[in-house]
C-alpha cells in the first residue's frame, strides 16, 4: 500500500467519469418515467405521489444519489482494505436472511425493516465484486499459476450463489455466473466459455428438436452428433493447427456419412446411436494415435471435448426431465417455441410480445399503452418494464434504451481497461459482467428469446434494492476510476 495522501475532493471532480454519471442519471430518470407509465391508472394519478410506485421510486432515487455521493467521497482504499470483511458480512446477511425472511411467493429473500423491504442478494453483488478484486490484486497473483487460485475464485463466486439458491431466488443466483467473464479476462482458457456456449447449443438443439426422428433417433440428438463431428474437425484445424489430421478426420466423417445416407436411401436402416458412436470413436482413436505419434498435447482437449459433449447429450434429457422443476421446464419450452401455453407459463411472454409488437415505430404515446394500462402484462413495473417502453415509445424507444445500455457496458469495459491497478480492473469487469447478464436475460425474456428468469432491468425495474445495488456497483467503480491517476 502506498501511503500518499490523496486529497479527495479536488481529485474527485477532476477524475470523475462524468460521461458514465450522466448516463446513469439519464437511465434512472427514464426508469422512473417508465415506472410511472407502467403503473399509471386511468384514475388520475400523480407521478410524485408517494402512494404510487413512481413516487416511491423517486424516494429510492433520492436516497441513491445521497448514497452515491457518500460512496464517492469515501477514500478508495477503504474498499480495498475492507473488501473481504464486507464480503463475509454480506454472506452472513444472506445466510441470516434465509432464516428470518418471511415467505413471499415461495422465496425467502426479503428483509423487512419497518416500512422498507430490502433484498440482500442485490447488495451481495458489489461485495462479491470487491472480494474478486481483492483476490486478484493479491501480490503476484496469476490466475493460471495454480489450480488453487481457481478454487479460491470459484469459492468467492459460488458461496453467494448457493446461499441465494437457498433463498429460492434462482434468477438472482444465476447472475453471479457472469463473473466467469472476469475469469476469462484474467486468463481462464477461452475453451471454458466456448464449452459453455456449446453446452447451451447442445441443450437447446436436443430439447427443441425432440419430436421428429432421423435414423432412429430424435433429430435434435442427430444434429448434436453432427455438431460434435464439426467441432472435432474445427478444433483440429484451429486450436491444434493440425491440418492434415483435420482433413483426414473430415474425409472420414463425410465418407461414412455418405455411405450411411446411400444405404438409408436404399432402405437399409442403420441404427443411429451405434453408427455415430462408432464413427466418432474411430476418429478419436485416430487422434489418440496422432497424440502418441506427434506428441501434440492440445489434441487431448479435442478427445475430451468430444467425450464430454456426447456424455452431456445423453444427460440432457435426464437433466431436463428430472432435475428441472416443471415450471422451469415449461418456461424453457415456451422460450424455445415448443409450447405456447398462453394461459400459463407462456402468458407473460405472449402478452409482453403483444405489448412491444403493438408499439410499432413510434409507439402509442406516453401513458397511452393499452396492454400496460389494462394490466395485461403481469409484473409490468418490475421485471417486464421493458414492455411499457416498447408499447408507448415504440421501436425508437426500445432501440434507444438498448443503445444506452450498450454504451454503458462498453464504457465500463473501457474504464476497466484503463485502470492501472488490478483491483480496479477486476472490480470494473465484475460490474460489466453483472450489467451484461441483467441486460441479456431481462430484455431477452421480455422479447421472448430467453426463458423467463425473474431478474430486473437495471435502473428501470421498480424496486429500491435493485436500484441501490446497481448504484453501489457503479459509484464504487466511479470512485476507483477517479483515483486512477493517483498511482501514476
Amino acid at each position: 500500500m502506498e501511503l500518499r495522501n490523496t486529497n479527495t475532493p479536488p481529485s474527485l471532480t477532476r477524475g470523475l467519469d462524468w460521461f458514465t454519471l450522466i448516463l446513469y442519471l439519464i437511465l434512472v430518470v427514464a426508469g422512473v418515467v417508465s415506472i410511472y407509465a407502467a403503473s399509471y391508472d386511468f384514475d388520475e394519478a400523480n407521478m410524485f405521489s408517494f402512494e404510487e410506485f413512481s413516487g416511491k421510486q423517486i424516494r429510492w432515487i433520492g436516497c441513491s444519489l445521497i448514497l452515491g455521493f457518500v460512496l464517492l467521497v469515501i477514500d478508495r482504499r477503504i474498499y480495498e482494505t475492507y473488501a473481504y470483511p464486507i464480503y463475509f458480512g454480506m454472506l452472513i446477511l444472506l445466510a441470516v436472511t434465509i432464516v428470518i425472511a418471511p415467505d413471499i411467493k415461495g422465496s425467502r429473500s426479503w428483509l423487512v425493516l419497518g416500512p422498507m423491504s430490502l433484498q440482500p442478494a442485490e447488495f451481495a453483488k458489489f461485495a462479491t465484486a470487491l472480494a474478486m478484486a481483492k483476490l486478484f490484486s493479491g501480490y503476484n497473483f496469476v490466475l493460471n499459476a495454480s489450480p488453487i487460485n481457481y478454487v479460491k475464485a470459484l469459492a468467492i463466486i459460488f458461496v453467494p450463489i448457493l446461499l441465494i439458491l437457498a433463498q429460492r431466488e434462482t434468477g438472482s443466483a444465476l447472475v453471479y455466473l457472469s463473473l466467469f467473464f472476469v475469469l476469462y479476462r484474467e486468463g481462464m482458457s477461452g475453451l471454458v466459455l466456448f464449452g459453455a456456449f456449446f453446452a447451451v447449443l447442445i441443450f437447446v438443439v436436443t430439447v427443441k428438436f425432440s419430436e421428429t426422428m432421423i435414423m432412429g433417433l430424435p433429430s435434435g440428438e442427430f444434429s448434436v452428433f453432427i455438431l460434435v463431428m464439426v467441432l472435432i474437425v474445427v478444433l483440429l484445424a484451429t486450436y491444434a493447427k493440425h491440418f492434415a489430421g483435420a482433413r483426414n478426420v473430415g474425409l472420414w466423417f463425410l465418407g461414412t456419412g455418405l455411405i450411411a445416407w446411400v444405404l438409408n436411401y436404399y432402405g437399409i436402416n442403420i441404427p443411429g446411436i451405434p453408427f455415430f458412436l462408432g464413427v466418432i470413436g474411430v476418429a478419436c482413436g485416430y487422434i489418440l494415435f496422432e497424440i502418441l505419434r506427434l506428441r501434440i498435447r492440445a489434441l487431448w482437449v479435442i478427445i475430451g471435448s468430444a467425450v464430454v459433449s456426447i456424455l452431456f447429450l445423453f444427460s440432457v434429457n435426464y437433466v431436463f426431465g428430472n432435475v428441472l422443476e416443471p415450471h422451469q421446464q415449461m418456461r424453457i419450452k415456451v422460450a424455445l417455441g415448443i409450447e405456447e401455453d398462453l394461459r400459463g407459463a407462456g402468458y407473460n411472454v405472449n402478452q409482453s410480445k403483444i405489448a412491444i409488437g403493438s408499439g410499432g415505430m413510434t409507439g402509442k404515446g406516453f401513458l397511452k399503452g393499452t396492454q400496460t394500462k389494462l394490466k395485461y402484462v403481469p409484473e409490468q413495473h418490475t421485471d417486464f418494464i421493458f414492455c411499457t417502453i416498447g408499447e408507448e415509445e415504440g421501436f425508437i424507444g426500445t432501440a434507444t434504451v438498448l443503445t444506452l445500455f450498450l454504451i454503458l457496458i462498453l464504457r465500463i469495459i473501457s474504464i476497466a481497461e484503463r485502470q492501472p491497478s488490478t483491483f480496479s480492473r477486476v472490480y470494473a469487469y465484475c460490474v460489466a459482467g453483472y450489467f451484461i447478464f441483467h441486460f441479456c436475460i431481462n430484455i431477452g425474456m421480455v422479447i421472448g428469446l430467453c426463458p423467463v428468469i425473474g431478474i430486473p432491468l437495471p435502473f428501470f425495474s421498480y424496486g429500491g434494492s435493485s436500484l441501490w445495488g446497481f448504484t453501489f456497483l457503479l459509484f464504487i467503480l466511479l470512485r476507483l476510476d477517479a483515483a486512477r491517476r493517483d498511482r501514476r
Partner: protein, 617 residues
C-alpha cells in the same frame, strides 16, 4: 504490476459478445415492432371490446300501407369463454329456468361449433324471454364473462306470403366470407325479399367500443365514445303485394299444388304471388326455427319451393297467344287465314288431337276455342317456309327470338332470388338431338301448343298476360313498390317492348275476350266486368294434366292480369278459370258476387293433391 497485453485483447471478445447480443435484440425488436402488424391487432383485441349494436331491421308494408312484417326484441346469452370465471351454476340455471344438464350440453355444443374461439363472444343460449332477460340482467355482475346481446326477431301480422317475404337465418361461414358485413351469429335474409333486399333491410350496424382490462372488467368507453358508430335502422319496404288478395288467393289454393301470379299490367307490380302448398311464416322464427325448417325441407310437397317463379311448367294452351302474335308479326297468317281442323292436326302420319268445333277456322276463333290444329298449321307454315327463312333452323331461331323478347327462356329479372329461366329450345338444341337439317316443323310440332320442350314459370305466363293486357309492352314484374329513402332500381320501372307490333296484340286480346264470351273461359265472365282469358291444359309426365289459366280485366282498362297454374287438376276450365276469375273479381270488386259464391265454395274445398301422386307421410 505488468500489463498482460495478450489478455487485454480479450476485452474485444467480451465487448464483441455484448455488441452481437444487442444487435440480435435490435433485430428481434425490429421484427416484433415493425415487420408484423398482428401484435397491434392482438393488443386491440385485448383492450377493446367492440360491442355490436344491431340496428332494427326494416319493416315491410303491403301496397295499401298495411304492416305485414315487424320486429320484436330477442335476447341471446353470450359469453367470452376465456373471461368466464367460476360462477354459481345453480343460480345461473335457475335464473334462466334451465337444468344444469341442459347448460352442460349447451357448453359442449358451443365448443363443437365451427369457428369456436375462447377469445371471441360465443352464443350460449338463443332467444331468451323478456322475463328471463330481466332476471339475468340484474344478476349479470355475478357471472363474469357473460353478457346479453340484443337481437331482433321477425313478427308477422298475416299468415300469408311466406314465399314472397322469406325469413331470417343465422349466417354460415360462406356468408361471412362473401360479405364482410356479417359476423358469426348474425342473421341474414333467407329466401324471398328478406334475401333479395337484405342490404336495404338490414341497415348499418353500430359499434360501441369499450375498454376491458386483463380481468375482463369493463373500464369505460374508449375515447368517451367518440369513435363509437351509431347504428342506422334498415330501410322499410312497401310491397306491391295486396296482402288481402294474397291471403284470399292462398286460401283458394289450399289442398292444391301450384301457383298464382297476379300483376298490375301498367306497373309490372305483382299483386299476389302464391305458391302452394305454403307455410306459416312464424314457423321460421326464433328458437324453433331449426326444427321447423327441417320439417319443411323434408316435406315431400316442398312448401319452401316457390313454384310461382322457380318452377318451370309446360304452359300448354296459355302459350297459344304467343303463337298468334308471332304468326301475325311474321306475316304467316292474317286475320282471315283459315286452317282446317278435323279433330286435330294431321300431317304426314302425325296427329295432334283437338276438340269439336267448326272447321276451317281463323285466328280469333282459334284462340276462342283453343284449336290445336290452327296453331300447328301456322307453326308448320312458318318453320318450313324455306323461301323466307332459308331453313327450318333459321325460321325456328326467328320464332325463338320473338318468345325471348316476350320474357320466355330467360329469367325476367324480378326482384326475388333464384328465379328460374324456364326453357325455350333453340335450333342448336334440336340439331344436337336430331342432327343438323334432319328435323322440321313436324318433328317439334308440340312446341306450337306449349308442350314438348317448352317450359315457363307461372311468373312468365302471367307476364305474357300482362303484356297482352297492355297491348304490347310490359314492365319487369316485381314485388317491391317502394324502398324508404331510396329510388327504385330503374330496371323495375322501364317499359319493355317485345318484337311483336302492338296492333297484333290488340287482335290477340280480342281473341281472348271471345274465349270468355263464348269459348273455353266462359266461367270467367263476371257480372259488369269485361274479362279476357285463355285456358291451358298441359300434358305432363307426372300424371293428370295441369290446369292453367291466364286472364286480365277490365278488358279496356286492365287493372289485373293473372296466371293460375294447378298441378294435376285436369282441364284449364275446371280449376284454372274459376280460381283465376275469383281472384280477378275479388281484386276488382273487393267481394265475390252472390251468384258466384258456389264457385268460390267449390274451389275452397277442392283437393287436387290427391292426383299429384305425392304421398303425404
Amino acid at each position: 504490476m505488468r500489463k498482460d497485453y495478450n489478455l487485454e485483447k480479450r476485452k474485444y471478445v467480451i465487448g464483441g459478445f455484448i455488441v452481437v447480443i444487442a444487435l440480435i435484440y435490435i433485430f428481434r425488436l425490429f421484427d416484433l415492432q415493425l415487420s408484423d402488424s398482428k401484435y397491434k391487432k392482438f393488443a386491440d383485441n385485448n383492450a377493446f371490446l367492440n360491442k355490436t349494436i344491431y340496428p332494427s331491421r326494416g319493416l315491410i308494408y303491403d301496397r295499401n300501407g298495411e304492416l305485414i312484417v315487424y320486429n320484436q326484441p330477442a335476447y341471446d346469452v353470450m359469453m367470452i369463454p376465456r373471461d368466464v370465471e367460476h360462477f354459481d351454476t345453480i343460480d345461473f340455471c335457475q335464473t334462466l329456468d334451465i337444468t344444469v344438464e341442459q347448460l352442460r350440453k349447451r357448453f359442449d355444443d358451443m365448443r363443437k361449433t365451427a369457428g369456436y374461439s375462447s377469445y371471441t363472444p360465443q352464443k350460449l343460449i338463443t332467444h331468451i324471454s323478456a322475463q328471463d332477460y330481466g332476471r339475468l340482467q340484474e344478476k349479470l355482475y355475478r357471472f363474469p364473462g357473460f353478457f346479453i346481446q340484443k337481437r331482433i326477431l321477425r313478427q308477422y301480422n298475416h299468415n300469408a306470403g311466406a314465399n314472397v317475404l322469406g325469413n331470417l337465418r343465422e349466417v354460415n361461414p360462406t356468408d361471412i366470407e362473401r360479405d364482410p358485413y356479417y359476423q358469426r351469429g348474425d342473421y341474414c335474409g333467407d329466401l324471398g325479399i328478406e334475401k333479395s333486399y337484405d342490404e336495404y333491410l338490414r341497415g348499418v350496424k353500430g359499434v360501441e367500443i369499450l375498454i376491458r382490462d386483463a380481468h375482463g372488467r369493463i373500464q369505460g368507453r374508449y375515447d368517451d365514445g367518440s369513435r363509437d358508430i351509431t347504428p342506422e335502422s334498415g330501410r322499410n319496404l312497401k310491397l306491391s303485394i295486396d296482402i288481402d288478395l294474397q291471403q284470399y288467393a292462398e286460401s283458394l289454393m289450399v289442398n292444391k299444388i301450384g301457383a298464382i301470379v297476379a300483376i298490375e299490367p301498367q306497373t309490372g307490380e305483382i299483386l299476389a304471388m302464391v305458391s302452394s302448398p305454403t307455410y306459416d311464416p312464424t314457423l321460421l322464427v326464433g328458437r324453433q326455427r331449426g326444427e321447423n325448417y327441417q320439417k319443411l325441407v323434408q316435406d315431400p310437397l316442398k312448401p319452401l319451393y316457390d313454384r310461382s317463379y322457380k318452377a318451370a311448367y309446360p304452359p300448354g294452351s296459355t302459350f297459344k297467344p304467343t303463337q298468334g302474335l308471332i304468326l301475325l308479326q311474321e306475316n304467316i297468317v292474317n286475320l282471315q287465314t283459315m286452317y282446317p281442323c278435323s279433330h286435330g292436326f294431321i300431317s304426314g302420319g302425325l296427329r295432334v288431337g283437338c276438340h269439336a268445333h267448326y272447321s276451317p277456322i281463323n285466328l280469333k276463333p282459334a284462340l276462342q276455342t283453343s284449336c290445336n290444329a290452327y296453331f300447328c298449321w301456322g307453326f308448320k307454315n312458318m318453320v318450313d317456309k324455306r323461301s323466307k327463312y332459308g331453313s327450318s333452323a333459321n325460321a325456328f331461331e326467328v320464332w325463338k327470338e320473338h318468345l325471348v323478347s316476350m320474357g320466355y327462356g330467360y329469367p325476367l329479372g324480378t326482384d326475388l332470388p333464384g328465379e328460374s329461366r324456364g326453357f325455350i329450345p333453340n335450333a342448336k338444341f334440336y340439331n344436337n338431338v336430331y342432327g343438323e337439317g334432319r328435323w322440321s316443323a313436324n318433328t317439334v310440332i308440340s312446341v306450337a301448343i306449349g308442350q314438348g320442350e317448352i317450359m315457363a314459370t307461372p311468373l312468365q305466363i302471367a307476364n305474357l298476360c300482362a303484356t297482352i293486357a297492355n297491348r304490347g309492352w310490359f314492365i319487369t314484374p316485381h314485388v317491391v313498390k317502394e324502398i324508404q329513402d331510396t329510388v327504385m332500381p330503374a330496371h323495375l320501372l322501364e317499359k319493355r317492348k317485345p318484337t311483336v307490333d302492338e296492333r297484333h296484340y290488340r287482335e290477340v286480346a280480342e281473341g281472348m275476350r271471345m274465349a270468355v264470351l263464348g269459348g273455353t273461359c266462359r266461367m270467367a265472365a263476371l257480372p259488369g266486368i269485361e274479362v279476357a282469358g285463355k285456358t291451358g291444359t298441359a300434358q305432363n309426365p307426372h300424371g293428370k294434366d295441369h290446369s292453367a289459366f291466364i286472364g286480365f280485366a277490365p278488358y279496356n282498362d286492365p287493372k289485373i292480369a293473372v296466371c293460375v297454374y294447378v298441378e294435376n287438376a285436369g282441364f284449364g276450365a275446371t280449376y284454372g278459370v274459376p280460381i283465376g276469375s275469383l281472384v280477378i273479381e275479388k281484386y276488382l270488386t273487393g267481394k265475390i258476387s252472390n251468384e258466384r259464391k258456389y264457385l268460390e265454395e267449390r274451389m275452397l274445398e277442392a283437393n287436387t293433391i290427391i292426383y299429384s301422386g305425392v304421398k303425404k307421410h
